[in-house]
């Protein structure tokens, strides 16, 4: 008569086998290759690399395949793999001013040295389903022009020259790493930026949007958005100089925000900053807006009670792997605790009913 939750081990094994079968789907349809995902689902791959904090397009594509397209699950796979990797060293800070840009736009200046480059963007596409893609169709090669030689300086550098935008002093200190040290609050800006760079795109998008709609509004212009590849250099102690070990694709966003000025400082623009692996511009812009909102204290602004200004709120809830784990853990058995609640509620109800039945004894 009594059927407890027995046989957990076999149930788990069978569930895994079923999952594998579902992942494969209809065997009459050819299996996806990791290379196909890497090449044709590149923006999904980028998101998994960014929030997984591991730059490896092949592994990210594998994770997407294994996760059946569930990107948070894929990010989780990458994070769990990343945590087992040894730290061989730290790179020099990447030089985004030397980026080989595939896209570079500014909303604050009509033109600037280096030019505006739209690049491969959805921005001006009409969102009409392209039914031709239902069939396999060859894409004609895009027209090419030779690359513009010369550097592509940061737009905010021009404002900086005139003292119109706040200078960000370079620090000598090694930035903290929240994957190696517990997050302690209040957090420094480098630590906040690290947390935001790993944070959930949807969460940051919602927070950034809330600042635009008036919850700690600080009107942001996209001073510059650039996407492209940068070299990663590592100092080799034996050699005494740095060598290039990799090229990675990054999206960088600098916003230019209003600052009213104070008694001690004249009005000046301020910045928000976003830097994310891969072509991930929604995330980079969101990150810049949230970064700026979190800077209220150092810039002498008021705390308006908005979520995007609240460092502890933002940093504690931005990580989707933490969030999804804790959210989904309520699926696990809780019957011991539920039983204790059940007894408590029954007891309190019994006492209340008794008191109602004997009103004179209640007092």
């Amino acid at each position: 008569m009594y059927v407890a939750v027995k046989g957990g081990e076999r149930a788990i094994e069978n569930a895994h086998a079923w999952l594998a079968e579902e992942r494969r789907g209809d065997r009459a349809v050819p299996e996806l290759t990791v290379a196909q995902i890497r090449e044709q689902m590149a923006l999904a791959v980028n998101r998994v690399m960014a929030e997984g904090s591991l730059y490896d397009p092949d592994l990210a594509a594998l994770a997407i395949k294994q996760a059946r397209g569930d990107l948070i699950e894929a990010i989780f796979l990458i994070r769990a793999y990343r945590t087992t990797l040894p730290r061989l060293g730290a790179s020099r800070p990447v030089d985004t001013a030397a980026m080989a840009c595939i896209r570079r736009i500014s909303a604050t200046f009509k033109d600037a040295p280096g030019g505006q480059v739209l690049g491969p963007t959805f921005d001006y596409t009409h969102r009409l389903l392209d039914f031709a893609l239902m069939a396999e169709c060859d894409v004609p090669p895009a027209p090419e022009a030779s690359a513009t030689p010369g550097p592509v300086p940061h737009i905010t550098g021009f404002l900086n020259r005139d003292g119109l935008i706040q200078t960000e002093a370079a620090g000598e200190a090694t930035p903290p790493d929240l994957t190696r040290e517990p997050l302690e609050l209040p957090a420094s800006r480098p630590l906040r930026l690290q947390a935001l760079a790993r944070g959930d795109e949807g969460f940051l998008l919602g927070l950034a949007y809330s600042t635009q709609r008036g919850y700690a509004r600080n009107h942001a212009f996209v001073g510059e958005l650039r996407i492209g590849t940068v070299a990663v250099e590592v100092d080799i102690p034996e050699l005494g100089f740095a060598i290039e070990v990799a090229e990675i694709e990054l999206t960088e966003c600098e916003t230019v925000n209003q600052f009213a000025g104070s008694k001690t400082e004249p009005p000046q623009f301020t910045r928000g900053y976003g830097l994310v692996f891969g072509q991930t511009e929604r995330k980079a812009i969101s990150m810049a807006l949230v970064d700026r909102a979190l800077r209220w204290r150092e810039l002498g602004e008021d705390f308006l009670g908005a979520a995007a200004q609240d460092e502890e709120f933002v940093l504690s809830h931005a990580d989707n792997i933490q969030a999804t784990g804790f959210l989904e853990h309520i699926k696990l058995p809780h019957y011991v605790d539920f039983q204790s609640e059940l007894e408590l509620v029954r007891r309190i109800r019994a006492e209340a009913e008794l008191a109602q039945a004997q009103p004179e004894a209640a007092e």
């Binding site: 957990g8 784990g325 011991v336 039983q339």
Partner: protein, 289 residues
């Protein structure tokens, strides 16, 4: 799995966790921040407990893993399998045979010994969290031993319900100093926390906290003189083994609201039945392996 080190975590990480554990042992009930790692199971599934277990395990250990008091619940099976694969340690379902027990939501019924470590999985380590959501604030409150808010909450419970309306994760005070969350064990288990010969370790992975109760630590469940703490359980005996002093699960057995009550500690229940104890609905001998 040979690509991973013993018990999965690399040695540097284990050292970092052991340092946090030692600090926790030195300051009973104090929540020590530690650089929790991403584990191959989700946050909320016991990553804190798993990391503490990984840092404590030696190849000679005998591991027992329980969830809701039972060895065969799915997550207990999953965690036990994880350590069988990554550490190759011996496992057992018998509380008395285990040198390290990882648990979620229960303390075993059988008394523990000085040779044992009990590792708790902790979801929210901060006992003040639901009174004050900010970590910066709650850490200050612990530092100043400012627990007035907690007493007000307990008092309001009594004013509203006639008793303290907390049935699990019932807050305790450790050696007269830190207020501690005992993890979501039913308050029935709270008395077992105090003066236990075993080392008790608490791991909260997502919240990056480790805390500890060294052996023979005095642990007092918060209460008032006129409303003393009561370790309550269902007012029944186990229907399988007849025990009247164990924590019971209530199981719905038919559409007419029929119920039975069984020990949540499956090992305890099984060994009682093997010793000849039979409850109201138990079948003598049938459960004997």
């Amino acid at each position: 799995m040979n690509d991973y080190t013993f018990a999965y975590l690399d040695e540097q990480t284990k050292r970092m966790i052991r340092r946090a554990i030692l600090k926790g042992v030195a300051i009973p009930g104090y929540q020590v921040p530690f650089a929790s790692r991403e584990m191959p199971m989700p946050y909320g599934w016991g990553t804190g407990g798993v990391q503490v277990t990984a840092a404590c395990l030696t190849p000679e250990d005998v591991l027992k893993v329980i969830d809701q008091g039972a060895d065969d619940t799915t997550n207990a099976v999953s965690i036990r399998k994880f350590f069988q694969r990554t550490a190759g340690v011996a496992v057992t379902e018998a509380t008395v045979e285990a040198s390290l027990i990882q648990t979620r939501h229960r303390i075993p019924e059988a008394p523990l010994t000085e040779a044992q470590i009990l590792v708790y999985q902790v979801p929210i380590p901060e006992p003040l969290r639901f009174l004050e959501p900010r970590e910066v604030e709650t850490r200050r409150m612990h530092a100043l031993e400012d627990y007035g808010l907690m007493h007000v909450k307990l008092y309001e419970d009594i004013a509203r319900h006639g008793e303290i309306a907390t049935a699990y994760a019932y807050p305790v005070k450790v050696e007269g100093r830190y207020v501690m969350d005992p993890s979501p064990i039913p308050k029935f288990d709270n008395p077992k926390l105090s003066d236990s010969p075993a080392l008790q370790l608490f791991g909260a992975g997502r919240e990056q906290r480790i805390y500890a109760l060294p052996p023979y630590t005095r642990v007092v469940s918060l209460d008032f003189d006129d409303h003393p703490f009561v370790a309550s359980k269902a007012d029944h005996a186990c229907d399988l083994c007849g025990a009247g002093d164990t924590y019971l699960d209530e199981v719905i057995i038919d559409d007419a609201g029929g119920r039975m009550f069984v020990c949540s500690d499956t090992d305890h229940c099984g060994s009682r039945r093997r010793a000849g104890h039979v409850g109201r609905l138990g079948v003598p001998g049938k459960e004997v392996a």
